[in-house]
């Protein structure tokens, strides 16, 4: 909105900032590009190159054949499933929470508290997050005992779902929802009350407002945030490492096992191939998102 607000100014400035003074103006971005070159692009290149080096040192695609094993496939499915479910649920709940916060006073205590809490919880993970949930829901946990005392067993038939992938999904929500609040609230803030008033003065109901005004406006951003949550869960590692005792159930644990095998059988080539496969999955989701967004922005026009 704001960037496009001043066409005359940017058009007038273009000849000056454009091609003629190229060498000098490019100097300003050199530090940034050197830095990301070393610490982001070079590592990505190392993954790419390393995935093509077979254990015997020759260049081949054999590492990718190593991925095509049933147990690898299972961890792919597990990883994608847990990321998708926790991203979708986290996005919906997080969006509702963000809306509840954004409709309050922008400088109010509620908003400050929620935003600060979201800032820390979004990065919370690992062994202590697992501990916190075990202390809550495990068979000695306070919530479990609370319900048990009232005759309600949250683990019917002794099936302790907290310790498998369902439990992991629930635990992931503990950092997914706050992340959604953090990234989605700017989009909600961008909605003007005037639009609601305009809908109403034209005779529209609350449903019309959400269906035809706010919904379509927020949808692309909502999708983008959901994707971010997917990528976040997809790469989450510390929590799963703490909760799941048997290794390799999800992809990050497979990569870790290949990197740091205690029996000395670490396979760096295969680890890199797997890392590349993970990047590939995120890129596919990202591509789907771009296509979807193109669709939705066409609707918006």
């Amino acid at each position: 909105m704001t960037a496009a607000g001043n066409p005359a100014l940017s058009a007038a400035a273009r000849p000056v900032s454009g091609g003629r003074r190229l060498p000098l103006s490019w100097l300003g971005v050199v530090p940034f590009f050197v830095y990301v070159g070393i610490f982001l692009l070079l590592p990505t290149a190392i993954i790419l190159a390393g995935s093509l080096v077979a254990p015997d040192g020759s260049i081949s695609l054999s590492n990718f054949a190593g991925i095509a094993k049933p147990f690898m496939f299972t961890s792919f499915v597990n990883s994608i499933e847990i990321s998708a479910v926790s991203a979708l649920v986290g996005a919906i709940v997080g969006a509702i929470l963000a809306y509840a916060v954004a409709t309050g006073s922008p400088q109010g205590l509620v908003r400050r508290t929620v935003m600060s809490a979201a800032g820390v919880f979004a990065q919370f993970g690992g062994v202590t997050l697992t501990f916190a949930w075990l202390a809550t829901l495990y068979t000695t946990g306070i919530v479990y005992v609370f319900f048990k005392d009232r005759g309600l067993d949250i683990y019917p038939g002794g099936n302790i779902w907290l310790l498998d992938l369902r439990g992991l999904t629930l635990i992931y929500l503990y950092f997914q929802i706050p992340l959604m609040v953090l990234v989605f609230i700017p989009a909600i803030d961008g909605i003007r009350p005037q639009w609601r008033e305009a809908t109403e003065s034209l005779g529209g109901s609350t449903w019309h407002y959400w269906r035809y005004v706010a919904g379509p406006l927020l949808f692309p951003s909502f999708l983008g945030c959901t994707l971010l949550l997917f990528a976040n869960a997809f790469s989450a590692y510390a929590t799963a490492a703490a909760l799941l005792t048997q290794g390799g159930v999800i992809l990050p644990l497979q990569v870790q096992a290949l990197l740091t095998s205690e029996t000395g059988s670490s396979q760096p080539g295969l680890a890199k191939a797997l890392a590349l496969a993970m990047i590939f999955v995120v890129l596919v989701v990202m591509g789907a998102y771009t296509l979807l967004q193109r669709r939705t922005s066409a609707w918006l026009r």
Partner: protein
């Protein structure tokens, strides 16, 4: 009609906020309950686990290291990213999308995958530059890029950067003055936001430190959990509380600074 809608909205808000508070505070409460349990069934509540934090040197070392990393990463992020973003907006708007793509890239490369690629670079660094844990800040800067970029981008988008800088330049200000006395005071909340997200990320980071054999806060907590679960829970609750208080305090500081230049901000 409007009044009844307002009432409905208030009810909705309180229900949602209460439910969220329950979901997020219950595990915290359970953690605190767990960390204050005494030894034995009928033992009284005790703060022994909490007292152990200060008297375990590895833990306090790791805490200090993580705090230093948080500060260094935030400062490096601002020094590297903010001038670049301002410069790109003013002089090289064509490559804005490239910078955005690069900044969001760490989201597409899972941390565990990035570790695989960055490990050789860190082996080189630890042999040739420094083997201090503070070297982790280089990698952390990459991890915070997406969050920092989004925060700063929102801030820069909300001010009329071009007019402000041109006015300053025509009055004889150098680029340093423009950055420090025009840009920084114009977007205090964006800068705070970016720094806070960086601090929170660094304090919670585990994957990089663990796989590259550095002992930061989270790695120390994970070790400690094998020795004394109560202490490890106590320390991470303390870390969360610390982060929360820090964010709260800074959110008030941000408001104080934002008033003088508020008039320059676009609606």
């Amino acid at each position: 009609m409007i009044r009844s809608r307002r009432l409905k909205l208030q009810v909705f808000r309180y229900v949602v906020l209460l439910a969220a508070a329950l979901f997020f505070l219950m595990p915290m409460f359970a953690s605190i309950e767990f960390s204050t349990r005494g030894n034995g069934i009928a033992a009284p509540r005790t703060l022994d686990s909490w007292k152990l934090i200060a008297s375990t040197p590895e833990l306090s070392d790791a805490i200090i290291a993580s705090l230093e990393l948080a500060v260094i990463t935030s400062v490096m992020m601002l020094v590297l990213l903010l001038p670049t973003m301002v410069w790109v907006r003013l002089r090289l708007p064509r490559i804005n999308r490239v910078v955005e793509f690069i900044c969001l890239m760490p989201l597409t490369v899972p941390a565990i995958a990035l570790v695989v690629g960055i490990k050789p670079i860190y082996i080189w660094i630890s042999l040739n530059v420094t083997d201090s844990i503070l070297a982790l800040a280089f990698a952390y800067l990459i991890l915070v890029l997406p969050y920092a970029f989004r925060a700063l981008d929102a801030g820069l988008g909300a001010i009329d950067l071009k007019t402000l800088t041109e006015a300053a330049r025509s009055l004889g200000a150098g680029w340093g003055t423009v950055m420090l006395r025009i840009v920084v005071p114009s977007i205090p909340s964006a800068i705070l936001n970016a720094s806070l997200l960086s601090v929170a990320l660094v304090l919670g980071e585990y994957t990089f430190a663990n796989l590259m054999n550095y002992e930061n806060l989270q790695v120390a907590v994970a070790y400690e959990s094998l020795v004394d679960a109560g202490t490890s829970v106590a320390i991470s609750v303390a870390a969360l509380a610390f982060g929360f208080v820090l964010l709260m305090v800074l959110s008030f500081v941000g408001r104080l600074r934002s008033t003088p230049v508020g008039a320059l901000q676009r609606p």
